[in-house]
Structures are given as C-alpha cells and as structure tokens.
C-alpha cells in the first residue's frame, strides 16, 4: 500500500497506521478514504495529496 504526502503541510498518510483521530482504521488504503476526509494536520482535502 502506498503512502501519500500532503502537499500543503508535509503530513504523510501511512495506510498501515490509518488515521485514528479521523476514525480511519489501520490498513485503509488512501484510495479508500472517504471523500470528505481531511489532512489531520492542516485540514486540506485528499486532492492536495500526492503519492510517494
């Protein structure tokens, strides 16, 4: 599973960890994150992420 980086603040979404604060379970690939998911660090949407 690929990691994705927020182009605004540098946060890296690691699918192995998920995003517990945003109720995203570990093992969730970036592609399967809900459309309204936002960067837990700076709050921008998925469209501002780039695959690493």
């Amino acid at each position: 599973m690929d990691k994705w980086e927020c182009q605004v603040c540098g946060y890296i979404y690691d699918p192995e960890e998920g995003d517990p604060e945003g109720n995203i379970a570990p093992g969730t690939p970036f592609e399967e994150l809900p459309d309204d998911w936002v960067c837990p660090l700076c709050g921008v949407g998925k469209e501002d992420f780039k695959k690493l």
Partner: protein
C-alpha cells in the same frame, strides 16, 4: 528606539507595537502589546532576516538606515510569510531592489499570492542548505506547520544563534530587548499564552521538531524569535517549557468555566469550586461573560481538569460559551479531563451540548455530568460540593 546589537554586527531592527490589543483578528488578546522582530546581519553580504507588519515598514527602514544603507541589503531571509513578518517586504524590496529572497518553496508561493512579486529573485531552500554571508553561515531548517506550511528556522553557526521566527515568541512589548530585562513571571506567562493560542494543536509536531533540533547537536546560546524578547540568559528555559507543553504535561489544577442566567449555575460553580479546593486541587473560576477565552486557554496549558457549566436557554447552552468551546475544538488540548454541569428549568440541553464539544476537543469526560432543576437547594448545593470533591479525587488519582 535605536537598533540593538544582539551579537557582534547582528542588529535587532524591528519595531515595538505597544498598542496592539488583539492578534489574529479578534482571536487572541495581547494585553501587553507585541513586537515584530527583524534582524540585520552586517557581513561581506548584508542580510535581513524577516521584516515587520506593513504599517511599520517606514520605522523598520529608518532603523535599518541607522546601521546601513538599505540599498546594500543583498539577502533577505523570509522565515515565515505571515503578514506581521512579511508585510514590510514590498517596501524593503523597493529600497533594496536587487536583494535575493531566501525562503521555502511554500513561502515563495505564498509571497507571490500576498504581494505579487513574481519578479523578485527567489532562492528556494530546504533543510540543510546554507548561505555564507562572509564570516557567517546561515543554515536553514524547514519547519512545516510550525506554525504554517511555509515556516522555517535560520541558524547562525558562528554565533550559536537560532532565529526560529514565531517559535519561542511572546506577545510582549518591552523597552529592553532581552529576557533579563523583563520580569521572568510575565515573560513565561506570555510565552505560555502564545503557545496555548498558536501552537497547542501542533504539539505533536513541536515535540518532533525539538527532538530533531536536539539531534542536530548544535549549540544554541541565543534564541531570537520574531515576537517579544530575545532569550540570551537561558534559552534552555523556553526549550524546556516547550518540551513540557508539547508533551501535554499538567499540574493538579482545575478550571471552572461557566455562564449563568439568574445565578443558579453560578451557585453550582461556586460549590463545585469549593469541593475541588477541599480535595486539594487549585481551582480557578471563570465566568465567560466576564472573561477572555484566550486567557483561559493559557491557564489550560498546565491544568488537568476543565469543568464547563451553563444554564439551559432555548434548549442550548448560553451563547457566550460558543467562542470558548469552538476555539477549544481547534486547540485539541492533550491529556485533559473534562466535566459538565448546569441548571435548567423544564427542558435540558446545555450540558449535552457542552459534553459534545468537550468530546470534539478530545477531552475525556471524567465523571457523569451534574444537572440541577431551577435553583440548587441546600441538599443540592452539598451535591455540587461533593461532585467537585469527587473530581478532585480523579485529578489526584491520575497523577499517582
């Protein structure tokens, strides 16, 4: 005020804004004003690190002129694009049109969006890149989201001097430029208020960055931030405080924050406070209609328990709680306990609303909420006291 030489040939050329009472719009009260610090480095190449808020551009240029002709500035380091530090940049560029701007990639984008300036000579830098000005070497350390995506620190190796822009700052206008020229209690209080209102939600990153800088093993003899006084006596004092605050450490203290319609919720608040105090927990009481929420956040920075209360009106809490609770959700304080209370007449709603917002701020409810019908009678006042006493027990228990 004259320029102040902070190290040999390095001058503070910023401005003191004695009159500022609100920062970031209305969100942060600055009872003691602030400063916008700009630093001028004389060397083979003259370098300016950060500027000031736009209305003070003239004052900045006048101060620079007392040291050097601004036209001689060859390098401008923009550690952070926020307008209180970059606002004077267009005026400085007019005075020094050939200057190269050293900043992060994000900062370049942001500067162009703020000021136009696409024609300026940008040198985009990353962590580890250096600029030699002659006898001195400026190293750049990117610090994304500390506190904006564009932020970076500049370190001058030969002087063991860190210029971290907003990090380690304080909104504090003073006649002296250094930490030893101001009362230490006031200094740390303003440093705490600054952290609580600006960096609190970024605590995870702060902790990581502190470790990273520690890992670089660079000596730091002086920290010169972009607001407030310069840490020259003991820079370790503020680094240690940041370590504590970013780690979510707390003291056995409580805050009771409330508002009231006809005094019933206020009566509850006072008995709860007495119970907490009887349980050995230092407690401060804040009526929101008489308080400033950015001051309360400062208190919360070292306080374990936040108790919030309101009467129910129109099936909601009183609206004076809203700015406080909404701001709290953004700050996401670490390791705090919460509790909710309030008086009501026929329908309820205030306490439920408070519970929801505390949860959204990541604050864990310590015990069941307390609601009283109409007016607390003698027995119910005792219940309030006991409820506070039980909360004190939970605060103490957690420490052990």
């Amino acid at each position: 005020m004259k320029p102040v030489e902070i190290k040999k040939d390095i001058y503070w050329v910023g401005v003191v804004d004695w009159d500022l009472r609100y920062f970031h719009g209305p969100s942060y009260t600055t009872h003691r004003g602030t400063t916008y610090n700009s630093y001028l480095i004389l060397d083979d190449q003259v370098t300016l690190v950060d500027t000031v808020y736009a209305p003070f551009a003239g004052e900045l240029l006048e101060r620079i002129k007392k040291v050097v002709d601004p036209a001689r500035i060859e390098n401008i380091v923009v550690n952070h694009i926020e307008t209180d530090h970059s606002g004077a940049l267009p005026e400085v560029m007019k005075a020094a049109p050939g200057a190269r701007i050293y900043c992060t990639a994000k900062a370049r984008e942001g500067l162009i969006k703020h000021y136009g300036g696409a024609e300026w000579d940008y040198r985009v830098v990353k962590t580890g890149q250096e600029l030699s000005t002659g006898r001195r070497t400026l190293s750049f350390i990117e610090a994304p989201m500390l506190h904006w995506p564009d932020s970076m620190f500049t370190y001058i190796r030969e002087e063991a001097l860190l210029l971290p822009n907003d990090a380690f700052g304080q909104h504090l206008a003073t006649s002296g430029r250094f930490d030893d020229q101001v009362d230490n209690f006031i200094l740390m209080e303003e440093a705490a208020k600054y952290y609580a209102n600006i960096l609190y939600p970024l605590s995870g990153l702060v902790a990581k960055k502190l470790k990273e800088v520690e890992g670089l093993n660079i000596p730091i003899e002086m920290i010169a931030p972009s607001h407030g006084v310069i840490w020259r006596t003991d820079p370790g004092q503020i680094i240690e405080a940041y370590r504590r605050w970013s780690g979510g450490e707390w003291k056995e203290k409580a805050l009771v924050v409330y508002d009231t319609m006809w005094g019933s919720t206020e009566t509850m608040a006072r008995y709860i406070t007495e119970g907490l105090s009887a349980g050995g927990v230092e407690t401060r009481l804040y009526k929101l209609s008489a308080s400033d929420h950015s001051d309360i956040y400062k208190e919360l920075l070292e306080t374990r328990l936040l108790v919030v209360g309101s009467s129910t009106i129109h099936r909601q809490f009183i609206s004076t709680l809203s700015p406080f609770l909404d701001g709290l959700i953004g700050l996401k304080p670490l390791n705090r306990l919460g509790a909710a209370f309030g008086a009501y007449g026929w329908s309820r709603g205030a306490v439920k609303g408070i519970e929801e917002r505390l949860a959204a701020a990541g604050i864990q409810l310590a015990q069941e909420s307390l609601e009283i019908l109409w007016v607390p009678d003698g027995k119910e006042r005792e219940r309030c006291f006991q409820w506070g006493l039980a909360l004190a027990g939970l605060v103490k228990e957690a420490k052990a």
